[in-house]
Amino acid sequence: MGYSESTGGRKAVFNPIADDGNEYKFCSTCAFGSVCVGHGVDKIGLTELHCLVEHAGPFRTGDAIFRHGDRFSAVYAVRAGTVKTSQVDREGRELILGFHLPGELIGLNAIHTEIYPCDAIALETVEVCRFSFPALATLATRIPQIQKELFRRLSKDIGDASQRIQESTADERLAAFILNLCARYEARGFAANALRLSMPRSDIANYLGLAAETVSRVLRRFQDSGLLVVEGREVSLKNPAGLREVARNILPD
């Protein structure tokens, strides 16, 4: 049906799946990439770490990577796509805990209870790396960099949670949310001033404690004042400094 044209001419798309890595190097977005790249883990250690990684997925939109109450057996690193973690209260209301981008870890909050305390749901097509936890813990006792990385990520999770300030305005929350996502994408080597919001606006609203229409109203206002442009799910920052100014009260220094 005349589709032959579409086989060529495509530019690299945003949020691609990471390369697969090899025994010397992890995937470019890997959660543990910094362990080997930054700290020079010896080849044997790296090979061992590689051995306990399994690629899992693809998960489709709405699929669970794990469910609340499942027995904790592994932590996962997102390779591609976005994952949301959420809890459901007794009345059936969902509370979104966070959104997890390529290179980020999920499941760390289960170490303590040995049961996953939340659902992890794919918001689009998602691929993950599964790190069997007992094996990872054993390896961590032998490779200090891995232990250090785990502690670093655990403490960062705690820090992120305390950042959700209740008294902030809708403008502040949204500006901080977008800047935070941009910074996380940038840290993984993606463009600093553009992002794709793969979560539905109702999820953004839920996470920020706002009404869905407020999310849109504030974004429209940001757009009208030249801070950013929203097209479908794509957001491009036109004035990041201005956005930081809006969020200054709740951004970390």
Partner: protein
């Protein structure tokens, strides 16, 4: 969107236009409705609606409401309609229509503004004024009507079956655009197409609409009808210009009796020949241009002060099922028999017959019959064709900024198809820009067709381009 280099008057080159008078889609949608599929279901429609609510800033909404009944058959008609004198059929239909509106509207988030509303047919004024006002009121309860003056709330009115007072009342209920079918005032033509309508009846409805506050009135003309002559049509054009409509649409009649039963009433020997057809179109373009109308694109003309002409200059013009519009891309919800929706990435079409439409709703289902989910390639081409149909200009760097493709490579086959049109001087093409020339203004459909991925093997199913 691209600013049109002011308003280029179309240049009429008979030889060229005759040569390009081939079958081409009108591109009120891409892909066209011919490519909808039977495997599109109600569940797919619900997914599309959900996805449309999920955008960070969901699109504004537009609705089309189809009233399929007509009191008398016009022989040229290719619309989905039912001829009846039984006015009770309106109530039977409205019961189901209300059910459909209620079920669909509930799935759209309430903060989404309805900026466009259009009643088409059939004959919307088959509904009496009480029924019509109630329908408008009910839509206002189910959707958040925009209060912006720029909203486009339109209705098609048949002056043979309503008066100025009907037009005034719908205008007072919020309708600000009226479209009236004229086709031709020549009595011989009117007889041949079974549509007898006087200038006075038409003027009366226009006057009522204006009194009620309607911003923009459109008159429809058709060239290529049986018994049409250049002299008679020129007289019609004079009469139409004297009525001072804000917009004029001049459609070419497509004689497809094997597809449209009503057209079998037309004696093909009464149809003007190709040369006469060209003369009719030529007088249309030259007389309307001389009277100060701006060519918007394909078959549409508007006075320079009208919103459409303004949108063309500002580069905000949009193509939709009704022709052209001034609103940025909306999610379009079609209600009623045969109506088409375009929501998020999907097209959905309702059952094309009354029993099918009624049966689904009576069984608690929506009357989705066909549709299509758009691929990445469809979305790219739909954007491109939209740009070309709305101003005739495509800025390649900004297209590449919106889509992840290298234009010259991705569209290499389309560009090869475009080359003969470039050679003929219809369009210029550089690495930065594709731009229609004055010679190409009347052949936008042919230019857009070069970028249509579905065109091979689909000859002769579309109306002629000119």
């Amino acid at each position: 969107m691209e600013n049109r280099a002011a308003l280029v008057a179309p240049q009429f080159d008979r030889e060229l236009i005759a040569r390009y008078d081939v079958n081409a889609p009108r591109y009120t949608s891409y892909p066209t409705a011919l490519h909808f599929r039977d495997d599109f279901s109600e569940a797919d429609l619900f997914d599309c609606i959900r996805a449309s609510n999920d955008d960070p800033i969901p699109r504004d909404l537009s609705t089309y409401i189809h009233v399929p009944f007509c009191l008398s058959p016009c022989f040229y008609c290719g619309c989905a309609r039912i001829i009846t004198h039984d006015k009770r059929k309106a109530d039977t239909y409205l019961t189901r229509l209300y059910r459909e509106i209620e079920q669909v509207a509930a799935r759209f988030d309430r903060d989404r503004r309805l900026v466009q509303l259009h009643f088409g047919g059939g004959t919307p004024n088959f509904l009496n004024i009480t029924q019509m006002l109630e329908l408008i009121e009910s839509l206002g309860r189910h959707f958040s009507f925009s209060r912006d003056a720029g909203r486009e709330f339109g209705i098609e009115l048949d002056p043979r079956f309503c008066d100025g007072d009907y037009a005034r009342q719908v205008a007072e209920a919020g309708i600000n655009r009226v479209s009236i079918g004229v086709q031709d005032f020549d009595p011989a033509v009117q007889q041949a197409v079974n549509r007898i309508q006087s200038v006075e009846e038409t003027a009366d409805v226009m006057q009522g609409a204006r009194k009620g506050g309607v911003r923009s009135i459109n008159l429809d003309l058709i060239y290529g009808l049986p018994k049409q002559t250049p002299e008679g049509f020129a007289r019609t054009l004079e009469q139409v210009i004297a009525l001072k409509p804000d917009r004029i649409a001049a459609y070419g009649y497509a004689h497809l009796p094997e597809r449209f039963k009503a057209q079998r009433q037309i004696d093909k020997y009464d149809l003007p020949d190709a040369t006469t057809r060209l003369t009719l179109l030529q007088s249309c373009v030259s007389m309307l241009t001389a009277a100060g109308y701006v060519h918007i694109g394909v078959d549409h003309f508007a006075l320079p002060g009208d919103d459409l002409a303004q949108a063309l200059v500002n580069g905000t013009l949009q193509r939709n099922f009704q022709g052209y519009s001034t609103h940025a891309a909306c999610d379009l919800i079609g209600f009623g028999m045969s109506a088409i929706s375009r929501i998020a990435r999907g097209f959905s079409q309702n059952a094309k017959d009354l029993p099918g439409y009624y049966m689904a709703l009576d069984n608690g289902r929506l009357p989705v019959a066909r549709g299509r989910l758009l691929s990445e390639d469809d979305l790219l081409r739909s954007d491109l064709i939209q740009q070309l149909m709305c101003g005739g200009v495509l800025d390649i760097p900004s297209f590449e900024a919106r889509h992840p493709v290298e234009f010259a490579h991705y569209f290499r086959q389309s560009l090869a198809r475009l080359q003969p049109l470039v050679d003929d001087g219809l369009v210029t093409c550089s690495s930065q820009r594709i731009e229609t020339t004055a010679r190409g203004q009347l052949l936008l459909r042919n230019i857009a067709q070069c970028f249509d991925a579905y065109i091979e093997g689909s000859d002769n199913r579309y109306s002629r381009a000119v």
